[in-house]
């Protein structure tokens, strides 16, 4: 990979071809002052370099001949000479260019210049003798460990819990000087647990029983009970998997057979709690019914070489199961990670009947990549084998117990679903630092140690005190600064919201997008839960994504178009109208009872007296379908209804 493309950045070339020793402004340079404190390379300097410089001056890029991968290379300087004079930032050419005093030599050549503070830090670093801890290189992006890691769980006396997550969390809280908060009350816990494990509101009778139960292990027992409801569990979690596996009932590709549903296989796998390693093996090395994932989406017409089915398979395996972004590295060596074009083709090659010619930015290179998985230390793939057997080898390497990243990626996704914010964010970028490495590694190892039982991981999390802490707010910005203090409030998904209303009114209409019921895959109850429906304007507005791309996280925030759909959309209006009719016929005798029912089921609590008064006024003397419809709407619009808090 020696002949990389060298992009010519005019400013930089000018800079580097100038005679080094005599910058015009050298006599009276007006540089920002050197910082007056001891600088840390890792904290102060490295981020500036990574943000502004490494794109052109590291990882094989050497604009102007200048590289900053390691300290020695900085000292060697550029094609034109020395760039840094150790101990003298005033005289260092680097100070000159990063100060931007001369527009023709400013660095970075494009974009926002460094701030005075940043220049001051780099000056101080030069003045302090270029401190650079051994072992750090800017030559490569930070990568997370692949191997699994055993975590010794400390016995935290400060907390009454037998859940290792909580013991680890005690250490985390201590480090961050946070007092372990009190956990939430029963009704709030129940509402969360129901919605998060089976996607439904707690039915009044079940909630009542739970609230009245005074045994000390009732929360854990509730979690166990919920997770053992195979059908309800599958009907909730299938939405999460549909989103990330790009499985839908309609969409591009289906028009001429360029796509295949995996719905039946997926539903069955979830219902039976198929071990996650086997689950992934069957997606990568397909069995009957799971072929659609590897098949990908084939648009009619000519496809860019980075989007061939084999490349899609590589990208999707990387993203979904490993938290690796191969999309950039499908056209050229990635600028944001260490993955190369060859790495992507090497993985895609597994799924191709013919040897894949490497295309750089859609132009053939004549080269071929040897077939291999991203981390060779996990195992090799025999390129001479037929495709089906290569897929089998890949499936085993990917799901190998030594692939700790495989387990970390899924437990992080589950944590994020339950607690509103992952241990690592974004969920698809598993090279980022978790806010607590121990919790992540412990959950991952526990999954591996217990036959890749995802429901066990869910139980671990749901029964932890961490999950039961009061909810917190997070605006989704600057994930690096996130400090865990409790679950982040979530918004109900489109499916949860609709199911909640259907359950409240016991009215389950809809245009089925899948034939699971007809095919008798689902036994028992025959409610049309929302996940089964075709995308419609209502669920789209509420955030059900177009599954042409992987959707690993839906937006938790409300939009105007959503609110419009909620306010005057015909789908919801019809649902409320029909549903209200049913409520009137079921509860028509007693308006008071209906109010209690709606609050207890919808919000998980009894109404306040003031609320009863408000609603009674609106209701008038006798229950009309219209007034019930409006009350239902009023309750459904409440943040208290729509949020999982």
């Amino acid at each position: 990979m020696m002949n990389r493309i060298r992009k010519s950045l005019p400013g930089l070339l000018v800079a580097m071809t100038l005679p080094f020793s005599a910058p015009a402004a050298a006599e009276e340079p007006q540089y920002p002052p050197s910082a007056k404190r001891a600088v840390s390379f890792e904290e102060d300097i490295e981020p500036i370099f990574r943000e502004n410089c490494t794109k052109c001056h590291a990882r094989g890029k050497a604009e102007g001949g200048f590289r900053i991968d390691v300290r020695d290379l900085v000292l060697i300087g550029s094609d034109s000479g020395i760039v840094v004079e150790t101990g003298n930032s005033e005289k260092s050419y680097l100070t000159h260019v990063i100060s931007g005093v001369d527009p023709s030599t400013k660095m970075p050549p494009q974009g926002e210049p460094l701030s005075d503070e940043q220049v001051g830090l780099i000056r101080a670093w030069i003045d302090q003798g270029l401190p650079w801890p051994t072992g750090i290189t800017l030559g490569r992006f930070k990568e997370a460990e692949v191997k699994p890691r055993e975590v010794i769980v400390p016995a935290a006396k400060a907390i009454h819990s037998d859940n290792p997550i909580d013991h680890l969390l005690v250490s985390y809280f201590q480090k961050n000087e946070i007092d372990f908060p009190d956990i939430v009350d029963d009704r709030r816990f129940a509402r969360r647990a129901y919605l998060d494990s089976i996607g439904l509101l707690p039915p009044p009778d079940e909630l009542k029983t739970f609230l009245e139960d005074d045994s000390s292990d009732k929360r854990t027992r509730l979690v166990e009970d919920l997770l053992s409801r195979d059908q309800a569990y599958a009907e909730h979690w299938i939405t999460f998997w549909n989103d990330i596996l790009r499985n839908d009932f309609t969409g591009t590709g289906y028009i001429d057979g360029g796509r295949k549903q995996i719905t039946h296989w997926l539903y069955e796998s979830l219902r039976k709690n198929k071990p996650y390693n086997q689950f992934v093996c069957e997606l990568v090395d397909p069995v009957t019914g799971s072929e659609g994932f590897i098949k990908g989406i084939i648009w009619r017409g000519v496809t860019n070489s980075s989007q061939t089915p084999a490349m899609q398979a590589a990208q999707n395996i990387g993203q979904v199961f490993m938290g690796i972004n191969l999309k950039c590295a499908s056209c050229h060596d990635s600028f944001i990670s260490n993955w190369t074009l060859e790495d992507s083709y090497a993985l895609a090659g597994v799924f191709s009947d013919e040897a894949l010619e490497i295309h750089r930015c859609d132009t053939g290179t004549g080269e071929h990549a040897p077939i291999k998985f991203l981390y060779e230390e996990l195992g090799t793939i025999d390129a001479t084998l037929p495709k089906a057997e290569r897929e089998e080898e890949l499936a085993h390497i990917l799901t190998d117990e030594q692939n700790g990243r495989f387990a970390r990626t899924i437990v992080n996704r589950l944590w994020a679903r339950l607690l509103g914010h992952g241990l690592i964010e974004p969920n698809d970028e598993m090279d980022r630092e978790p806010w607590d490495q121990d919790i992540l590694d412990w959950l991952a190892q526990d999954l591996v140690d217990h036959d890749y039982d995802l429901r066990r991981t869910l139980k671990n999390i749901l029964s932890s005190k961490a999950y039961q802490l009061p909810s917190t707010s997070w605006d989704g910005q600057n994930d690096e600064e996130f400090i865990f203090q409790g679950p982040v409030v979530k918004r109900m998904t489109a499916e949860q919201f609709r199911d909640a209303l259907c359950a409240l009114t016991d009215y389950w209409p809809g245009d089925l997008g899948t034939d699971l019921k007809i095919a008798n895959v689902i036994d028992g109850e025959t409610k049309t839960r929302s996940w089964m429906l075709k995308r419609d304007p209502f669920t789209v507005a509420m955030g059900r994504p177009n599954r042409d791309q992987i959707n690993s996280q839906r937006s938790p925030y409300a939009t105007t178009l959503q609110a419009l759909e909620l306010t005057n959309g015909s789908t919801l209006a019809d649902l409320l109208k029909q549903g209200a009719g049913r409520l009137v016929s079921d509860h028509g005798e007693s308006p008071e009872e209906l109010i209690h029912y709606l609050f207890f089921y919808g919000l998980g609590r009894e109404p306040e007296q003031e609320e009863v008064t408000l609603i009674s006024e609106m209701m008038g003397e006798s229950l009309s379908s219209e007034s019930v419809e409006d009350i239902l709407w009023g309750i459904a619009m409440l943040p208290e209804f729509q949020l999982i808090y």
Binding site: S473, E608, Y645
Partner: protein, 475 residues
């Protein structure tokens, strides 16, 4: 805030737009790499209207007439370039095809591009080219690319906060190739806040901004009042996350403001004077143009009105091309010209950019690029014995016409030259989608290099940030 008929956009822009944008941008992809200042050109238009000729509008039958050969039995297909005679327009050097007389009479207000070259996407497929026209990128993609209307909505925000920033008129999504249409009728990675407000039936537009059907206004108000009171009482306030709660409350506020705003009357076509209404009433497209005009008057930001793409309908002529086009021209000629005239009369044309375009053109013999044989093309006999074969039935990408009005675009200007003989391809002034989009964005005050960071990589308004506005179009 705008009880006046002529609503002062500039003042609004100064006072509210930035704030609105900031509050909307909460969950957005970051402006790319956070730091590079984007050098936006000065806006020449506040509103953009795309008039979409879905299905492939043949240039030689509309805005680029060639030698006319009337129908007769036994006609050689290779003799036919245009099935309509050319007509004069109010601009000396611009001739149009018969049936576009009214548009011809306003050509002095705009620019005609004859040298638009559609993307070379292998098979010539409507959905692929429509996707590319509307997003600037060819499918499939690893990230979900936003529609050009979503770009405008995202970067500029609403023009009037009471009117959705991206309105799409006339396209149903449950028709043939509906899934392919959905793939670009969306805001992509910008999120649904910036997605299209769909109005498939312009005559029913009012329903989209009024209480649910059958709900009296008083009941609607009561329902709203109840919700507000319950919300005030709701104990969720104690439990953290003001952020999510506010997000919900704010969205409800905005929706209600839209429904109760004076601007919502613009959606109601029944309020249009009869005489004016009839000028537009050539069908759904014509009424869509009327709706676009009314919405422009109250400060819409981006509107697309389509003749609607349904496979084998509208401009998608696979047979009977000639007779079908008589109807298509009747559909567009009056409304398009009237839209220009009305906006001019109301003093809005200068600050409104109107674009009439199609995904590609058609020809009687050539399929795709000249000299490229494509399988599955429409059967066209060498000798025409039946009238149904008289027309442009094959897909052609090497030239196409685009009409532009307002938004700083030159008046009475003809851009580009195409061959007089088959293949009637672009000879001079070639414009590709990147240049066309760059020109449209530039008119709207958006840099073609505007970018957002998605999955740690930059995503540009025009492909790779490389689109350059065509200077000759402005003046």
């Amino acid at each position: 805030m705008n009880s006046h008929n002529h609503w002062n956009r500039r003042n609004f822009l100064k006072s509210a737009s930035a704030a609105t944008l900031a509050t909307l941008a909460s969950n957005s992809p970051r402006e790319a790499f956070g730091n590079a200042p984007i050098d936006s050109p000065p806006a020449l238009a506040d509103t953009m209207i795309v008039l979409w000729m879905g299905g492939g509008m043949a240039h030689t039958e509309t805005f680029d007439p060639k030698r006319y050969t009337p129908y007769e039995k036994g006609l050689g297909s290779d003799q036919v370039l245009s099935t309509f005679p050319a007509i004069d327009t109010c601009v000396d050097n611009i001739k149009l095809s018969e049936g576009l007389e009214k548009i011809g009479s306003v050509m002095d207000r705009g620019t005609l591009i004859r040298s638009y070259k559609a993307g070379d996407l292998g098979f010539i497929l409507h959905s692929r080219h429509q996707f590319q026209w509307h997003t600037g990128y060819a499918p499939p993609l690893t990230v979900s690319a936003p529609h050009i209307g979503a770009w405008v909505a995202k970067v500029l925000g609403p023009n009037n906060p009471d009117v959705p920033a991206f309105i799409d008129i006339g396209q149903r999504l449950d028709v043939g190739e509906g899934e392919e249409l959905k793939a670009f009728h969306q805001a992509g990675f910008f999120g649904s806040e910036y997605g299209p407000f769909m109005i498939p039936y312009p005559e029913d537009a009012m329903k989209r901004v009024q209480p649910p059907e059958g709900m009296a206004p008083s009941r609607f108000q009561n329902r709203e009042k109840l919700f507000r009171k319950l919300m005030e009482n709701s104990p969720i306030g104690e439990f953290g996350s003001s952020y999510h709660k506010e997000s919900l409350a704010r969205s409800m506020d905005k929706a209600h403001r839209l429904l109760n705003s004076p601007a919502s009357k613009a959606f109601d076509l029944s309020l249009e004077p009869k005489e004016s209404y009839e000028k537009y009433n050539t069908g759904r497209f014509g009424l869509g143009c009327l709706l676009a005009r009314r919405l422009t008057e109250v400060g819409a930001r981006f509107i697309e009105v389509t003749t609607e793409y349904v496979p084998f309908e509208g401009w998608d002529t696979h047979e009977n091309g000639h007779s079908r086009l008589v109807g298509m021209k009747e559909l567009i000629d009056g409304p398009v010209s009237q839209l220009v005239l009305d906006l001019e009369e109301k003093g809005l044309l200068d600050r409104t950019l109107i674009v009439l375009a199609s995904e590609f053109s058609r020809d009687m013999l050539v399929e795709g690029k000249p000299d490229l044989i494509v399988k599955g093309q429409v059967e066209q006999p060498d000798v025409i014995e039946e009238e149904k074969f008289y027309g442009m039935h094959r897909h052609f990408t090497d030239a196409g016409s685009v009409l532009l009005f307002g938004g700083g675009i030159k008046k009475g200007y003809l851009h580009g030259v195409t061959a007089e003989e088959r293949p009637c391809k672009t000879l001079e002034g070639e414009i590709r989608i990147e240049e066309l989009h760059a020109s449209l964005y530039t008119s709207m005050g958006i840099s073609p290099m505007h970018k957002f960071e998605i999955e740690q990589r930059p995503f540009y308004a025009t492909k790779d940030g490389k689109g350059k506005a065509v200077k000759e179009l402005f003046g």
